[in-house]
């Protein structure tokens, strides 16, 4: 059979695209010897940035989980006037330029901002603190979790929820024993995406929290700061983020493969002999 021009061109294009995407990642590890990269991991700047990133990411994801889960559940299960507006607002940070998010956070929570005087009265000062980093991360990363969580909750068969209620379970027991286990994989996937996005946060953080070592300097901010001071340190931190990203993505694939292998159980499908 004669092969069409497209049949030849497509693999070539795919090969070029793959090389283009992989090359920068490979270059990070190839530029300097692994020994020098590993040495940089004990550099105080690198260690501090790692601690700041880890702490702010964990607190931010915890916040997203605690506030985002009920939000997503309500948006997935209730039909009310203005629901589409609520969904749009929740998703807005996803498309907002990070620098705009940073300015927004500053004029909302900064000293001269909308809530500035109220926060001052409470003795709370947010800008350029570690809490500011957490807030910036939560702001930009939350839509990724909430979107995924809405989809996961919407996929839970309403008959199962109804069945649970008629079997004597109240709303809370139904949520924890039926809804949550069935939406679990979608929620984990959403949290992984949100975590990855939060870990790489740069624009909003630098505007709202600054880049103070040990306080607000996260790994991406430290990479930028070390870039013209100690290039090996910048490379080492980049390598750390690449490894974390790869692990997250691989973990996500594994989790999603559980879902597809158990998808026959998540909704009822009858065999060919049974009409339904």
């Amino acid at each position: 059979m004669r092969r069409s021009p497209l049949a030849l061109a497509a693999p070539l294009a795919a090969l070029a695209a793959l090389a283009f995407l992989v090359l920068p990642v490979v270059a990070i590890f190839a530029h300097t010897s692994p020994g020098r990269l590993l040495d940089q991991l004990s550099n105080p700047v690198v260690k501090d940035a790692f601690v700041v990133s880890a702490r702010t990411s964990l607190v931010a994801q915890l916040l997203i989980l605690i506030l985002g889960t009920p939000t997503a559940y309500l948006l997935a299960t209730r039909r009310f006037r203005g629901r589409w507006l609520a969904v749009t607002l929740v998703e807005l940070p996803l498309v907002l330029p990070p620098a705009v998010a940073g300015i927004g956070l500053l004029v909302a929570f900064g000293h001269a901002g909308l809530l500035g005087s109220s926060l001052d009265a409470l003795g709370v000062s947010l800008p350029f603190t570690q809490s500011a980093v957490t807030i910036a991360v939560a702001f930009v990363a939350s839509p990724l979790y909430i979107r995924q969580a809405i989809a996961a909750f919407e996929a839970v068969d309403v008959d199962l929820v109804a069945a649970s209620r008629t079997l004597g379970a109240g709303g809370t027991r139904t949520f924890f024993r039926v809804v949550l286990p069935l939406a679990r994989i979608g929620l984990i996937a959403g949290l992984a995406l949100s975590f990855a996005r939060g870990l790489g946060e740069f624009g909003a953080t630098i505007m709202f929290a600054g880049s103070l070592q040990q306080v607000t300097q996260t790994l991406p901010l430290a990479i930028y700061a070390e870039f013209d001071v100690n290039f090996d340190a910048a490379l080492a931190m980049s390598a750390v983020l690449v490894v974390v990203s790869v692990l997250l993505l691989a973990g996500l694939r594994i989790v999603l493969s559980w879902q597809s292998s158990s998808s026959t159980t998540s909704r009822f499908r009858f065999g060919p002999s049974i009409s339904g």
């Binding site: 008959d159 199962l160 004597g168």
Partner: protein, 347 residues
Amino acid sequence: MAELLLDDLTVPLRSFDLRLTLAVERTVALVGPSGAGKTTVLRTVAGLTAPRQGRITVGGETWFDAARRIDLAPDERRVGLVFQEYALFPHLTVRQNVEYARRHAADEYLERFGIAHLQHERPARLSGGERQRVALARALARDPAVLLLDEPLSALDAHTKTAVRAELHDLLAELEMPSLLVTHDFEDAAALAESVGVLVDGELRQTGTPADLVARPADAFVASFTGANLLHGRAGPPHAGATPVALADGTVVTTADDASGDVTLAVYPWEITLSLAPPHDSAMNVVAGPVRSIVELGNRARVTLGPLTAEITIDSVARLGLAAGQTAYATFKATGTRVVVAAGSSL
């Protein structure tokens, strides 16, 4: 025994209101075309859909009363609802599904429904019939005051359906509780319930025993919807591909279906022809008796004679000169009968 009472219930649906007054003491089947509001009745009793007005009481306990602003949550109503596609929890095993209803009752119900050997399976690995047993076991483990069944046979293939229908018939007969089931199939309704209500566009057109509905349909819709005569008898040993069934009055009819023991045969009114003289064709089933009633429906008439109702044209009634009290002969083929319930199969 407690009674389920639906009193002047009004539930708004998309294009009409469901309006219902109904007393359920044993087993009542609601039949009707899809979209008639059948499932809504069950959801309303279970507390999953809120009526606009009316009352729902069970054995003196009020579950819903619009006037007194009483509306118990679904988990506060003792109902066993078996969903059309069973709604088994896919992430739980059979045993966990039953335990979800009541913690320490699983063994009893797994045993009773013959599913103990499946207790560690997930619902996805069960057949349709097995799923239904789990759904029934789970609903009854809740210790309900009322059993609700939504299209209990529609998710099953034809082969499984006959067996499951017989099981369900025996189960409903031995359960001491009001049971309300909905189905679009009159034959299923007649096989499972003593009383059948025909629901069309949210209104009950007629309620009665299956034989009543066949003999005296209130209107043409009920007539077209209610299908078969049901004949109860005892099957004898099959002979030459046909099974003789002795009816209560001694008449023996033959069916082309396999059967043994006590059976119920379905015969459609339009499969029956009437004559004033005994027919000569010995291959036909013949039931003789005085004409009990003649009900005209448009250009057709339903003529009841002995245990049978035949549907013939008005012209034929006139041509035969049929009148109540006259002795007539009803004839139908062995292949015009179907075994709908074979007793003796138990859960």
